[in-house]
Symmetry: C2
Subunit: 162 residues, 2 copies
């Protein structure tokens, strides 16, 4: 934020005239010949098409960097800048999404763990009941009607711990 000048990429909008003076920084290089007059070698292919040329198959050419002043150049730059912006936007968005996904998964995890805890508890209760009952049967205890008062000592065999 705080970028007080958004080009808004309407159409023919190109600011930022950049002149790259590649490593030509001799310690005695005077600050001259700057922007505006960039004279590139030009590199003309000099097609031998009129001589004995065939149909020039793979035209092994590295590609002339296209003059900075060229109309096509600026156009390409413009488009690329747009693409870059778009790509970066998506990248950032994706990062955000991923981060959010982490949060969601974390929540889900807690939910699941809580559920496990609950189920475990339920299970342990039921199991205890079962054991108790089994003991009753094993002891052949048939509680008729007022049998002494000997509670079968509720032995909680709980041993469940997550």
């Amino acid at each position: 934020m705080s970028r007080p000048s958004q080009p808004k990429h309407t159409t023919a909008d190109h600011n930022g005239v950049s002149v790259i003076q590649s490593q030509s920084h001799a310690p005695s290089a005077p600050p001259a010949a700057v922007a505006g007059l960039q004279q590139v070698p030009q590199l003309i292919p000099a097609h031998p098409s009129s001589a004995g040329g065939k149909a020039l198959p793979p035209s092994k050419m590295k590609k002339p960097p296209a003059d900075k002043d060229s109309e096509e150049y600026r156009q390409r730059r413009e488009r690329n800048n747009l693409a870059v912006k778009k790509s970066r936007m998506r990248s950032k968005q994706k990062a955000l999404d991923t981060q959010q996904r982490v949060n969601e998964l974390k929540e889900e995890n807690e939910r699941l763990e809580a559920k496990i805890k609950l189920l475990s508890k339920e299970l342990s209760v039921l199991k205890d009941l079962f054991l108790e009952h089994a003991h009753n049967l094993a002891d052949n205890v048939q509680p008729p009607a007022g049998a002494g008062g000997s509670s079968p000592a509720p032995n909680s065999t709980s041993a469940n711990g997550q």
Copy 2:
């Protein structure tokens, strides 16, 4: 990759002097006053140090952009470039970590869900047993010797995961 000119940031290393004429453009701004001859107003504070000055409070100064040729300038750029690189590296690393976190959480989630499934199953079995038994009791049926023909005991009390 394929960057045939890695500065290697030894010390006084600077290639690619780029002069960007950022958006400083009034719709009618003519292409004049380009780089190379950046004559900043300079704005000399004119220290009143010898007069009756205090400790010169906020000296309202926008900061002269420092000549591109300046030693200090290059030094600052160099350091910044380094910082930028570092920052971006961390940023990318963080993104990777986050992505991995997602994977871990997903795995954990599956683990938990599996456990829930298991516990649920166990619970349902036990409950069924209980219900059956309850019915037996309610019907006053005293299974003499193998009544229901169902000997439910497929339940091992172990439910350990991990």
